[in-house]
Symmetry: D2
Protein backbone atom coordinates (compact mmCIF):
# COMPACT_ATOMS: atom_id res chain seq x y z
CA UNK A 1 0.00 0.00 0.00
CA UNK A 2 1.04 3.60 0.31
CA UNK A 3 3.75 4.96 2.48
CA UNK A 4 2.43 6.33 5.73
CA UNK A 5 3.76 9.18 7.81
CA UNK A 6 4.46 8.30 11.41
CA UNK A 7 3.75 10.84 14.13
CA UNK A 8 5.84 9.05 16.76
CA UNK A 9 9.42 7.98 15.86
CA UNK A 10 9.29 5.42 18.68
CA UNK A 11 6.14 3.77 17.34
CA UNK A 12 7.68 0.30 17.08
CA UNK A 13 8.81 0.18 20.69
CA UNK A 14 5.50 1.63 21.89
CA UNK A 15 3.47 -0.92 19.93
CA UNK A 16 5.59 -3.89 21.01
CA UNK A 17 5.40 -2.74 24.63
CA UNK A 18 1.61 -2.47 24.51
CA UNK A 19 1.35 -5.88 22.85
CA UNK A 20 3.49 -7.33 25.61
CA UNK A 21 0.93 -6.20 28.16
CA UNK A 22 -1.94 -8.10 26.52
CA UNK A 23 -2.60 -11.15 28.68
CA UNK A 24 -4.58 -12.90 25.94
CA UNK A 25 -1.79 -12.68 23.37
CA UNK A 26 0.67 -14.32 25.77
CA UNK A 27 -1.92 -16.92 26.76
CA UNK A 28 -2.40 -17.87 23.10
CA UNK A 29 1.35 -18.00 22.46
CA UNK A 30 1.28 -15.19 19.90
CA UNK A 31 4.37 -13.15 18.99
CA UNK A 32 4.62 -9.84 17.16
CA UNK A 33 7.08 -10.39 14.31
CA UNK A 34 6.84 -7.24 12.23
CA UNK A 35 6.10 -3.59 13.05
CA UNK A 36 6.27 -1.01 10.27
CA UNK A 37 4.30 2.13 9.52
CA UNK A 38 0.79 0.87 8.83
CA UNK A 39 1.72 -2.83 8.87
CA UNK A 40 1.89 -5.28 11.76
CA UNK A 41 2.35 -9.06 11.69
CA UNK A 42 1.70 -11.53 14.48
CA UNK A 43 2.52 -15.24 14.44
CA UNK A 44 0.96 -17.98 16.52
CA UNK A 45 2.22 -21.59 16.52
CA UNK A 46 -0.43 -24.29 16.76
CA UNK A 47 -1.14 -26.13 19.99
CA UNK A 48 -4.15 -28.11 21.17
CA UNK A 49 -5.05 -25.09 23.31
CA UNK A 50 -5.90 -23.26 20.07
CA UNK A 51 -7.98 -26.04 18.54
CA UNK A 52 -11.59 -26.55 17.69
CA UNK A 53 -13.21 -29.99 17.64
CA UNK A 54 -11.39 -31.16 14.50
CA UNK A 55 -7.88 -30.14 15.40
CA UNK A 56 -7.70 -26.95 13.31
CA UNK A 57 -7.15 -23.44 14.63
CA UNK A 58 -10.38 -22.20 16.25
CA UNK A 59 -11.96 -19.20 14.53
CA UNK A 60 -11.68 -17.35 17.84
CA UNK A 61 -7.92 -17.61 17.91
CA UNK A 62 -7.74 -16.47 14.29
CA UNK A 63 -9.96 -13.50 15.08
CA UNK A 64 -7.89 -12.65 18.16
CA UNK A 65 -4.61 -12.29 16.32
CA UNK A 66 -5.91 -10.53 13.24
CA UNK A 67 -7.94 -8.02 15.27
CA UNK A 68 -4.80 -7.31 17.30
CA UNK A 69 -2.59 -7.01 14.21
CA UNK A 70 -5.03 -4.56 12.62
CA UNK A 71 -5.37 -2.50 15.77
CA UNK A 72 -1.64 -2.16 16.22
CA UNK A 73 -1.14 -1.44 12.50
CA UNK A 74 -3.39 1.59 13.03
CA UNK A 75 -1.55 2.46 16.24
CA UNK A 76 1.82 2.72 14.49
CA UNK A 77 0.56 5.93 12.90
CA UNK A 78 -0.74 7.49 16.11
CA UNK A 79 0.87 9.96 18.47
CA UNK A 80 2.69 8.52 21.45
CA UNK A 81 -0.10 9.20 23.92
CA UNK A 82 -3.04 8.15 21.77
CA UNK A 83 -4.90 4.95 22.45
CA UNK A 84 -6.48 2.56 19.97
CA UNK A 85 -9.88 0.93 20.31
CA UNK A 86 -11.52 -1.66 18.04
CA UNK A 87 -14.88 -0.30 16.93
CA UNK A 88 -15.82 -3.37 14.91
CA UNK A 89 -14.47 -5.97 12.53
CA UNK A 90 -15.77 -8.50 10.06
CA UNK A 91 -13.89 -11.70 9.27
CA UNK A 92 -14.41 -14.32 6.57
CA UNK A 93 -13.04 -17.77 7.35
CA UNK A 94 -12.30 -18.95 3.83
CA UNK A 95 -10.69 -22.34 4.35
CA UNK A 96 -9.83 -24.59 7.27
CA UNK A 97 -6.92 -23.23 9.28
CA UNK A 98 -5.04 -26.51 9.22
CA UNK A 99 -1.34 -26.16 9.91
CA UNK A 100 1.44 -25.53 12.38
CA UNK A 101 1.73 -21.76 12.20
CA UNK A 102 -0.71 -18.89 11.76
CA UNK A 103 0.53 -15.57 10.35
CA UNK A 104 -1.79 -12.59 10.80
CA UNK A 105 -1.04 -9.42 8.86
CA UNK A 106 -2.87 -6.18 9.59
CA UNK A 107 -2.54 -3.27 7.20
CA UNK A 108 -3.91 0.27 7.27
CA UNK A 109 -6.04 1.13 4.26
CA UNK A 110 -7.36 4.53 5.31
CA UNK A 111 -5.83 6.42 8.23
CA UNK A 112 -7.89 9.14 9.82
CA UNK A 113 -8.08 11.58 12.63
CA UNK A 114 -10.83 9.68 14.45
CA UNK A 115 -11.33 6.44 12.54
CA UNK A 116 -8.88 4.16 10.74
CA UNK A 117 -9.89 1.37 8.37
CA UNK A 118 -7.66 -1.67 8.04
CA UNK A 119 -7.64 -4.92 6.18
CA UNK A 120 -6.33 -8.15 7.61
CA UNK A 121 -5.03 -11.31 6.01
CA UNK A 122 -4.41 -14.56 7.84
CA UNK A 123 -2.18 -17.26 6.43
CA UNK A 124 -1.72 -20.81 7.68
CA UNK A 125 1.48 -22.75 7.10
CA UNK A 126 1.42 -26.49 6.65
CA UNK A 127 4.31 -28.67 5.46
CA UNK A 128 6.22 -25.50 4.63
CA UNK A 129 3.47 -24.11 2.37
CA UNK A 130 1.60 -20.96 3.29
CA UNK A 131 -1.99 -20.32 2.26
CA UNK A 132 -4.46 -17.47 2.82
CA UNK A 133 -7.24 -18.75 5.09
CA UNK A 134 -9.05 -15.67 6.46
CA UNK A 135 -9.77 -12.07 5.48
CA UNK A 136 -10.78 -9.18 7.72
CA UNK A 137 -12.02 -5.62 7.35
CA UNK A 138 -11.85 -3.52 10.50
CA UNK A 139 -12.62 -0.08 11.91
CA UNK A 140 -10.52 1.39 14.72
CA UNK A 141 -10.97 4.54 16.76
CA UNK A 142 -8.18 6.79 17.95
CA UNK A 143 -8.50 7.90 21.54
CA UNK A 144 -6.62 11.19 21.70
CA UNK A 145 -4.30 11.66 24.63
CA UNK A 146 -5.60 8.63 26.49
CA UNK A 147 -4.65 4.97 26.42
CA UNK A 148 -6.95 2.67 24.49
CA UNK A 149 -10.11 1.27 26.06
CA UNK A 150 -10.15 -2.00 24.20
CA UNK A 151 -7.58 -4.06 22.34
CA UNK B 1 -37.59 -15.24 18.46
CA UNK B 2 -39.63 -18.00 16.93
CA UNK B 3 -39.78 -21.57 18.08
CA UNK B 4 -37.52 -23.78 16.06
CA UNK B 5 -37.98 -27.40 15.09
CA UNK B 6 -35.13 -29.66 16.06
CA UNK B 7 -34.10 -32.48 13.75
CA UNK B 8 -32.10 -34.32 16.41
CA UNK B 9 -33.71 -34.99 19.82
CA UNK B 10 -30.22 -35.39 21.32
CA UNK B 11 -29.07 -31.97 20.10
CA UNK B 12 -28.12 -30.71 23.56
CA UNK B 13 -25.83 -33.62 24.35
CA UNK B 14 -24.29 -33.49 20.87
CA UNK B 15 -23.59 -29.77 21.12
CA UNK B 16 -22.14 -29.96 24.63
CA UNK B 17 -19.95 -32.88 23.59
CA UNK B 18 -18.59 -31.00 20.57
CA UNK B 19 -17.97 -27.90 22.71
CA UNK B 20 -16.06 -30.05 25.17
CA UNK B 21 -13.64 -31.03 22.42
CA UNK B 22 -12.69 -27.45 21.59
CA UNK B 23 -9.24 -26.88 23.03
CA UNK B 24 -9.56 -23.10 22.82
CA UNK B 25 -12.75 -22.95 24.85
CA UNK B 26 -11.15 -24.92 27.67
CA UNK B 27 -7.99 -22.81 27.42
CA UNK B 28 -10.04 -19.62 27.82
CA UNK B 29 -12.02 -21.05 30.75
CA UNK B 30 -15.35 -20.88 28.93
CA UNK B 31 -18.37 -22.95 29.91
CA UNK B 32 -21.56 -23.67 27.99
CA UNK B 33 -24.44 -22.75 30.30
CA UNK B 34 -27.53 -22.97 28.10
CA UNK B 35 -28.48 -25.10 25.11
CA UNK B 36 -31.96 -24.76 23.64
CA UNK B 37 -33.30 -24.96 20.11
CA UNK B 38 -31.71 -22.02 18.33
CA UNK B 39 -30.16 -20.50 21.48
CA UNK B 40 -26.81 -21.18 23.14
CA UNK B 41 -25.11 -19.31 25.98
CA UNK B 42 -21.47 -19.48 27.03
CA UNK B 43 -19.94 -17.86 30.09
CA UNK B 44 -16.32 -16.95 30.66
CA UNK B 45 -14.98 -15.62 33.99
CA UNK B 46 -12.31 -12.95 33.80
CA UNK B 47 -8.65 -13.72 34.36
CA UNK B 48 -5.48 -11.88 33.38
CA UNK B 49 -5.06 -14.46 30.62
CA UNK B 50 -8.06 -12.88 28.89
CA UNK B 51 -6.92 -9.29 29.23
CA UNK B 52 -5.78 -6.57 26.93
CA UNK B 53 -3.37 -3.82 27.98
CA UNK B 54 -5.89 -2.06 30.24
CA UNK B 55 -7.22 -5.01 32.16
CA UNK B 56 -10.48 -5.46 30.26
CA UNK B 57 -11.52 -8.53 28.28
CA UNK B 58 -9.60 -8.63 24.99
CA UNK B 59 -11.76 -8.30 21.87
CA UNK B 60 -10.37 -11.65 20.74
CA UNK B 61 -11.76 -13.49 23.72
CA UNK B 62 -15.12 -11.81 23.25
CA UNK B 63 -15.12 -12.79 19.58
CA UNK B 64 -14.13 -16.37 20.45
CA UNK B 65 -17.06 -17.04 22.74
CA UNK B 66 -19.73 -15.27 20.71
CA UNK B 67 -18.66 -16.94 17.46
CA UNK B 68 -18.81 -20.28 19.26
CA UNK B 69 -22.20 -19.54 20.82
CA UNK B 70 -23.63 -18.58 17.43
CA UNK B 71 -22.20 -21.60 15.69
CA UNK B 72 -23.59 -24.00 18.25
CA UNK B 73 -26.96 -22.20 18.27
CA UNK B 74 -27.17 -23.04 14.57
CA UNK B 75 -25.99 -26.58 15.25
CA UNK B 76 -28.86 -27.29 17.68
CA UNK B 77 -31.18 -27.34 14.66
CA UNK B 78 -29.02 -29.65 12.53
CA UNK B 79 -29.21 -33.38 12.01
CA UNK B 80 -26.99 -35.52 14.22
CA UNK B 81 -24.34 -36.08 11.58
CA UNK B 82 -24.17 -32.58 10.15
CA UNK B 83 -21.24 -30.31 10.85
CA UNK B 84 -21.19 -26.55 11.36
CA UNK B 85 -18.69 -24.15 9.89
CA UNK B 86 -18.37 -20.38 10.47
CA UNK B 87 -18.48 -18.67 7.08
CA UNK B 88 -18.03 -15.17 8.50
CA UNK B 89 -19.04 -12.89 11.30
CA UNK B 90 -19.04 -9.20 12.12
CA UNK B 91 -18.76 -7.91 15.67
CA UNK B 92 -19.21 -4.44 17.12
CA UNK B 93 -17.42 -3.77 20.40
CA UNK B 94 -19.77 -1.19 21.86
CA UNK B 95 -18.30 -0.50 25.29
CA UNK B 96 -15.32 -1.65 27.32
CA UNK B 97 -15.74 -5.24 28.51
CA UNK B 98 -14.88 -4.37 32.09
CA UNK B 99 -16.09 -6.93 34.62
CA UNK B 100 -15.73 -10.33 36.20
CA UNK B 101 -17.93 -12.43 33.92
CA UNK B 102 -18.72 -12.44 30.19
CA UNK B 103 -21.99 -13.95 28.98
CA UNK B 104 -22.22 -14.66 25.25
CA UNK B 105 -25.62 -15.49 23.78
CA UNK B 106 -25.97 -16.80 20.24
CA UNK B 107 -29.40 -16.96 18.65
CA UNK B 108 -30.60 -18.24 15.29
CA UNK B 109 -32.41 -15.60 13.24
CA UNK B 110 -32.81 -17.47 9.95
CA UNK B 111 -32.24 -21.21 9.74
CA UNK B 112 -31.59 -22.69 6.33
CA UNK B 113 -30.66 -25.79 4.45
CA UNK B 114 -27.18 -24.55 3.59
CA UNK B 115 -26.72 -21.26 5.44
CA UNK B 116 -27.92 -20.09 8.85
CA UNK B 117 -27.84 -16.48 10.03
CA UNK B 118 -27.45 -15.76 13.72
CA UNK B 119 -27.18 -12.77 15.98
CA UNK B 120 -24.99 -12.63 19.04
CA UNK B 121 -25.10 -10.50 22.16
CA UNK B 122 -22.31 -10.30 24.71
CA UNK B 123 -22.92 -9.03 28.21
CA UNK B 124 -20.35 -8.17 30.87
CA UNK B 125 -21.12 -8.37 34.57
CA UNK B 126 -19.50 -5.98 37.02
CA UNK B 127 -20.50 -5.51 40.65
CA UNK B 128 -23.55 -7.66 40.05
CA UNK B 129 -24.81 -5.51 37.15
CA UNK B 130 -24.94 -6.87 33.62
CA UNK B 131 -24.54 -4.69 30.54
CA UNK B 132 -24.56 -5.34 26.78
CA UNK B 133 -21.03 -4.73 25.47
CA UNK B 134 -20.83 -6.37 22.03
CA UNK B 135 -23.13 -7.32 19.15
CA UNK B 136 -22.51 -9.86 16.38
CA UNK B 137 -24.11 -10.90 13.11
CA UNK B 138 -22.90 -14.23 11.73
CA UNK B 139 -23.30 -16.63 8.82
CA UNK B 140 -22.84 -20.37 9.32
CA UNK B 141 -22.73 -23.21 6.81
CA UNK B 142 -24.17 -26.65 7.36
CA UNK B 143 -21.91 -29.47 6.24
CA UNK B 144 -24.28 -32.33 5.48
CA UNK B 145 -23.29 -35.70 6.81
CA UNK B 146 -19.78 -34.61 7.75
CA UNK B 147 -18.38 -33.07 10.88
CA UNK B 148 -17.65 -29.35 10.68
CA UNK B 149 -14.42 -28.02 9.27
CA UNK B 150 -14.14 -25.03 11.51
CA UNK B 151 -15.63 -24.15 14.89
CA UNK C 1 -35.55 -1.88 22.92
CA UNK C 2 -35.13 0.66 25.67
CA UNK C 3 -36.62 4.10 25.73
CA UNK C 4 -34.27 6.73 24.44
CA UNK C 5 -33.92 10.32 25.50
CA UNK C 6 -34.20 12.83 22.70
CA UNK C 7 -32.02 15.92 22.72
CA UNK C 8 -34.10 17.75 20.11
CA UNK C 9 -37.91 17.94 20.57
CA UNK C 10 -38.27 18.62 16.83
CA UNK C 11 -36.34 15.48 15.87
CA UNK C 12 -39.15 14.07 13.72
CA UNK C 13 -39.50 17.14 11.56
CA UNK C 14 -35.75 17.48 11.24
CA UNK C 15 -35.30 13.86 10.18
CA UNK C 16 -38.18 13.93 7.68
CA UNK C 17 -36.84 17.16 6.20
CA UNK C 18 -33.36 15.72 5.75
CA UNK C 19 -34.81 12.53 4.22
CA UNK C 20 -36.77 14.68 1.79
CA UNK C 21 -33.53 16.18 0.49
CA UNK C 22 -32.03 12.80 -0.42
CA UNK C 23 -32.24 12.51 -4.19
CA UNK C 24 -31.69 8.75 -4.15
CA UNK C 25 -34.59 8.06 -1.81
CA UNK C 26 -36.98 9.96 -4.08
CA UNK C 27 -35.51 8.27 -7.15
CA UNK C 28 -36.15 4.84 -5.61
CA UNK C 29 -39.70 5.79 -4.59
CA UNK C 30 -39.01 5.36 -0.87
CA UNK C 31 -41.15 6.98 1.82
CA UNK C 32 -40.43 7.49 5.51
CA UNK C 33 -43.40 6.04 7.39
CA UNK C 34 -42.33 6.08 11.02
CA UNK C 35 -40.06 8.34 13.07
CA UNK C 36 -39.74 7.71 16.81
CA UNK C 37 -36.87 8.04 19.24
CA UNK C 38 -34.36 5.47 18.07
CA UNK C 39 -36.64 3.90 15.46
CA UNK C 40 -37.21 4.81 11.82
CA UNK C 41 -39.13 2.92 9.14
CA UNK C 42 -39.00 3.43 5.39
CA UNK C 43 -41.21 1.75 2.81
CA UNK C 44 -40.48 1.21 -0.88
CA UNK C 45 -43.06 -0.21 -3.33
CA UNK C 46 -41.70 -2.54 -6.01
CA UNK C 47 -41.18 -1.37 -9.58
CA UNK C 48 -39.03 -2.75 -12.38
CA UNK C 49 -36.60 0.10 -11.66
CA UNK C 50 -35.74 -1.69 -8.41
CA UNK C 51 -35.26 -5.13 -9.90
CA UNK C 52 -32.40 -7.48 -10.44
CA UNK C 53 -32.31 -10.01 -13.28
CA UNK C 54 -35.01 -12.24 -11.80
CA UNK C 55 -37.58 -9.64 -10.97
CA UNK C 56 -36.90 -9.41 -7.20
CA UNK C 57 -35.74 -6.34 -5.31
CA UNK C 58 -32.05 -5.75 -6.06
CA UNK C 59 -29.77 -6.07 -3.01
CA UNK C 60 -28.64 -2.49 -3.67
CA UNK C 61 -32.11 -1.09 -3.18
CA UNK C 62 -32.53 -3.10 0.00
CA UNK C 63 -29.19 -1.82 1.28
CA UNK C 64 -30.11 1.76 0.36
CA UNK C 65 -33.28 1.88 2.44
CA UNK C 66 -32.00 0.01 5.46
CA UNK C 67 -28.80 2.06 5.64
CA UNK C 68 -30.94 5.19 5.50
CA UNK C 69 -33.38 3.93 8.11
CA UNK C 70 -30.55 3.09 10.49
CA UNK C 71 -28.80 6.39 9.95
CA UNK C 72 -31.93 8.39 10.64
CA UNK C 73 -32.81 6.21 13.65
CA UNK C 74 -29.49 7.32 15.13
CA UNK C 75 -30.17 10.91 14.09
CA UNK C 76 -33.44 11.08 16.05
CA UNK C 77 -31.35 11.11 19.23
CA UNK C 78 -28.93 13.83 18.09
CA UNK C 79 -28.94 17.55 18.76
CA UNK C 80 -30.58 19.74 16.13
CA UNK C 81 -27.33 20.82 14.51
CA UNK C 82 -25.51 17.50 14.54
CA UNK C 83 -24.98 15.54 11.37
CA UNK C 84 -25.00 11.78 10.85
CA UNK C 85 -22.52 9.82 8.76
CA UNK C 86 -22.53 6.11 7.95
CA UNK C 87 -19.18 4.68 9.01
CA UNK C 88 -19.96 1.15 7.86
CA UNK C 89 -22.65 -1.48 7.68
CA UNK C 90 -22.97 -5.18 7.10
CA UNK C 91 -26.09 -6.75 5.58
CA UNK C 92 -27.18 -10.36 5.23
CA UNK C 93 -29.63 -11.08 2.42
CA UNK C 94 -31.43 -14.03 3.94
CA UNK C 95 -34.12 -14.84 1.37
CA UNK C 96 -35.22 -13.52 -2.00
CA UNK C 97 -36.89 -10.12 -1.70
CA UNK C 98 -39.89 -11.18 -3.76
CA UNK C 99 -42.94 -9.00 -3.22
CA UNK C 100 -44.73 -5.73 -3.79
CA UNK C 101 -43.53 -3.72 -0.79
CA UNK C 102 -40.27 -3.50 1.16
CA UNK C 103 -40.34 -2.28 4.77
CA UNK C 104 -36.99 -1.28 6.28
CA UNK C 105 -36.78 -0.74 10.02
CA UNK C 106 -33.71 0.82 11.62
CA UNK C 107 -33.32 0.71 15.37
CA UNK C 108 -30.68 2.10 17.71
CA UNK C 109 -29.01 -0.53 19.87
CA UNK C 110 -26.27 1.55 21.48
CA UNK C 111 -26.33 5.34 21.33
CA UNK C 112 -23.09 7.15 21.94
CA UNK C 113 -21.39 10.50 21.96
CA UNK C 114 -19.33 9.74 18.85
CA UNK C 115 -20.54 6.39 17.54
CA UNK C 116 -23.99 4.80 17.46
CA UNK C 117 -24.65 1.14 16.68
CA UNK C 118 -27.92 0.17 15.05
CA UNK C 119 -29.59 -2.95 13.81
CA UNK C 120 -31.78 -3.09 10.73
CA UNK C 121 -34.51 -5.47 9.65
CA UNK C 122 -35.99 -5.57 6.18
CA UNK C 123 -39.34 -7.20 5.48
CA UNK C 124 -40.91 -7.96 2.13
CA UNK C 125 -44.67 -8.17 1.65
CA UNK C 126 -46.20 -10.54 -0.87
CA UNK C 127 -49.87 -11.44 -1.18
CA UNK C 128 -50.50 -9.60 2.08
CA UNK C 129 -47.94 -11.63 4.04
CA UNK C 130 -44.81 -10.01 5.44
CA UNK C 131 -41.53 -11.87 5.88
CA UNK C 132 -38.08 -10.89 7.19
CA UNK C 133 -35.65 -10.99 4.25
CA UNK C 134 -32.55 -9.04 5.32
CA UNK C 135 -30.66 -8.13 8.51
CA UNK C 136 -28.18 -5.32 9.04
CA UNK C 137 -25.73 -4.20 11.71
CA UNK C 138 -24.43 -0.65 11.30
CA UNK C 139 -22.09 1.93 12.83
CA UNK C 140 -22.86 5.64 12.54
CA UNK C 141 -20.81 8.66 13.49
CA UNK C 142 -22.18 11.86 14.98
CA UNK C 143 -20.75 15.02 13.45
CA UNK C 144 -21.12 17.64 16.17
CA UNK C 145 -22.45 20.98 15.09
CA UNK C 146 -22.09 20.25 11.41
CA UNK C 147 -24.37 18.64 8.86
CA UNK C 148 -23.59 15.06 7.93
CA UNK C 149 -21.02 14.23 5.28
CA UNK C 150 -22.61 11.08 4.02
CA UNK C 151 -26.14 9.66 4.16
CA UNK D 1 -4.56 -11.12 -7.57
CA UNK D 2 -3.95 -14.53 -9.04
CA UNK D 3 -5.05 -15.70 -12.44
CA UNK D 4 -8.34 -17.50 -12.34
CA UNK D 5 -9.57 -20.35 -14.50
CA UNK D 6 -12.83 -19.69 -16.27
CA UNK D 7 -15.31 -22.50 -16.70
CA UNK D 8 -17.34 -20.71 -19.39
CA UNK D 9 -15.49 -19.16 -22.36
CA UNK D 10 -18.49 -16.87 -22.95
CA UNK D 11 -18.41 -15.50 -19.40
CA UNK D 12 -18.08 -11.88 -20.46
CA UNK D 13 -21.14 -11.93 -22.69
CA UNK D 14 -23.15 -13.83 -20.09
CA UNK D 15 -22.25 -11.39 -17.35
CA UNK D 16 -22.94 -8.30 -19.44
CA UNK D 17 -26.27 -9.76 -20.53
CA UNK D 18 -27.33 -10.47 -16.96
CA UNK D 19 -26.25 -6.97 -15.87
CA UNK D 20 -28.33 -5.52 -18.67
CA UNK D 21 -31.42 -7.15 -17.20
CA UNK D 22 -31.01 -5.48 -13.80
CA UNK D 23 -33.60 -2.73 -13.62
CA UNK D 24 -31.86 -0.99 -10.72
CA UNK D 25 -28.54 -0.67 -12.52
CA UNK D 26 -30.21 1.02 -15.49
CA UNK D 27 -32.27 3.22 -13.14
CA UNK D 28 -29.08 4.40 -11.41
CA UNK D 29 -27.31 5.03 -14.73
CA UNK D 30 -24.61 2.44 -14.05
CA UNK D 31 -22.52 0.89 -16.85
CA UNK D 32 -20.32 -2.21 -16.76
CA UNK D 33 -16.94 -1.13 -18.10
CA UNK D 34 -14.68 -4.11 -17.46
CA UNK D 35 -15.25 -7.87 -17.34
CA UNK D 36 -12.26 -10.16 -16.81
CA UNK D 37 -11.82 -13.42 -14.97
CA UNK D 38 -12.43 -12.55 -11.35
CA UNK D 39 -12.62 -8.79 -11.90
CA UNK D 40 -15.57 -6.58 -12.82
CA UNK D 41 -15.80 -2.78 -12.90
CA UNK D 42 -18.92 -0.65 -12.99
CA UNK D 43 -19.07 3.12 -13.45
CA UNK D 44 -21.84 5.46 -12.42
CA UNK D 45 -21.88 9.19 -13.30
CA UNK D 46 -23.24 11.54 -10.66
CA UNK D 47 -26.74 12.99 -10.90
CA UNK D 48 -29.03 14.50 -8.29
CA UNK D 49 -30.97 11.22 -8.38
CA UNK D 50 -27.96 9.59 -6.68
CA UNK D 51 -27.52 12.21 -4.00
CA UNK D 52 -27.89 12.39 -0.26
CA UNK D 53 -28.75 15.60 1.57
CA UNK D 54 -25.37 17.24 0.97
CA UNK D 55 -24.99 16.54 -2.71
CA UNK D 56 -22.60 13.61 -2.46
CA UNK D 57 -23.26 10.07 -3.70
CA UNK D 58 -25.67 8.34 -1.31
CA UNK D 59 -24.19 5.32 0.49
CA UNK D 60 -27.00 3.23 -1.01
CA UNK D 61 -25.90 3.94 -4.54
CA UNK D 62 -22.31 3.15 -3.65
CA UNK D 63 -23.41 -0.13 -2.05
CA UNK D 64 -25.55 -0.98 -5.07
CA UNK D 65 -22.74 -0.80 -7.60
CA UNK D 66 -20.03 -2.44 -5.51
CA UNK D 67 -22.30 -5.32 -4.47
CA UNK D 68 -23.14 -5.82 -8.16
CA UNK D 69 -19.49 -5.60 -9.24
CA UNK D 70 -18.48 -8.19 -6.64
CA UNK D 71 -21.30 -10.54 -7.52
CA UNK D 72 -20.51 -10.47 -11.20
CA UNK D 73 -16.77 -10.82 -10.52
CA UNK D 74 -17.63 -14.12 -8.84
CA UNK D 75 -19.97 -15.02 -11.68
CA UNK D 76 -17.21 -14.73 -14.32
CA UNK D 77 -15.73 -17.93 -12.89
CA UNK D 78 -18.99 -19.90 -12.84
CA UNK D 79 -20.41 -22.35 -15.33
CA UNK D 80 -22.82 -20.96 -17.90
CA UNK D 81 -25.94 -22.17 -16.14
CA UNK D 82 -24.98 -21.30 -12.57
CA UNK D 83 -26.57 -18.42 -10.76
CA UNK D 84 -25.01 -16.01 -8.26
CA UNK D 85 -26.59 -14.82 -5.05
CA UNK D 86 -25.29 -12.26 -2.56
CA UNK D 87 -25.16 -13.92 0.86
CA UNK D 88 -23.91 -10.82 2.67
CA UNK D 89 -21.54 -7.89 2.40
CA UNK D 90 -19.93 -5.32 4.63
CA UNK D 91 -18.97 -1.88 3.39
CA UNK D 92 -16.90 0.89 4.98
CA UNK D 93 -17.61 4.40 3.74
CA UNK D 94 -14.20 5.93 4.28
CA UNK D 95 -14.58 9.45 2.90
CA UNK D 96 -17.31 11.53 1.31
CA UNK D 97 -18.13 10.34 -2.19
CA UNK D 98 -17.86 13.81 -3.66
CA UNK D 99 -17.31 13.85 -7.40
CA UNK D 100 -18.67 13.36 -10.89
CA UNK D 101 -17.97 9.66 -11.43
CA UNK D 102 -17.99 6.57 -9.22
CA UNK D 103 -15.88 3.55 -10.20
CA UNK D 104 -16.68 0.29 -8.42
CA UNK D 105 -14.25 -2.59 -8.76
CA UNK D 106 -15.13 -6.08 -7.55
CA UNK D 107 -12.44 -8.71 -7.32
CA UNK D 108 -12.51 -12.38 -6.36
CA UNK D 109 -10.24 -13.23 -3.44
CA UNK D 110 -11.27 -16.83 -2.82
CA UNK D 111 -13.29 -18.76 -5.38
CA UNK D 112 -15.14 -21.83 -4.18
CA UNK D 113 -17.56 -24.52 -5.13
CA UNK D 114 -20.36 -23.11 -2.98
CA UNK D 115 -19.09 -19.81 -1.60
CA UNK D 116 -16.90 -17.11 -3.13
CA UNK D 117 -15.32 -14.26 -1.17
CA UNK D 118 -14.67 -10.98 -2.91
CA UNK D 119 -13.28 -7.58 -2.05
CA UNK D 120 -14.60 -4.35 -3.48
CA UNK D 121 -13.05 -0.93 -3.90
CA UNK D 122 -14.97 2.18 -4.81
CA UNK D 123 -13.24 5.25 -6.23
CA UNK D 124 -14.70 8.70 -6.78
CA UNK D 125 -13.38 11.04 -9.42
CA UNK D 126 -13.41 14.80 -8.91
CA UNK D 127 -11.63 17.38 -11.05
CA UNK D 128 -9.88 14.54 -12.84
CA UNK D 129 -8.44 13.04 -9.65
CA UNK D 130 -9.54 9.62 -8.45
CA UNK D 131 -9.62 8.65 -4.78
CA UNK D 132 -10.59 5.49 -2.88
CA UNK D 133 -13.75 6.23 -0.90
CA UNK D 134 -15.25 2.86 0.09
CA UNK D 135 -14.14 -0.71 0.79
CA UNK D 136 -16.23 -3.88 0.77
CA UNK D 137 -15.85 -7.51 1.75
CA UNK D 138 -18.52 -9.84 0.39
CA UNK D 139 -19.67 -13.46 0.36
CA UNK D 140 -21.49 -14.89 -2.66
CA UNK D 141 -23.19 -18.23 -3.16
CA UNK D 142 -23.14 -20.23 -6.36
CA UNK D 143 -26.51 -21.68 -7.32
CA UNK D 144 -25.68 -24.71 -9.43
CA UNK D 145 -27.66 -25.14 -12.61
CA UNK D 146 -30.17 -22.46 -11.74
CA UNK D 147 -30.20 -18.74 -12.29
CA UNK D 148 -29.44 -16.58 -9.28
CA UNK D 149 -32.11 -15.71 -6.73
CA UNK D 150 -30.74 -12.33 -5.83
CA UNK D 151 -28.39 -9.89 -7.54
Amino acid sequence: MGEFQVADPDFAERVRHSFGRQGLMAHLGAAMTRVEPGIVEIEMPFTDDLSQQHGFYHAGGIASVIDTAGGYAASTLFAADDGVLTVEFKINLMSPADGDLLIARGEVIKPGRTLTVTKGEVFVRKDGETKLCALMQQTLMRIVGRSGIQG
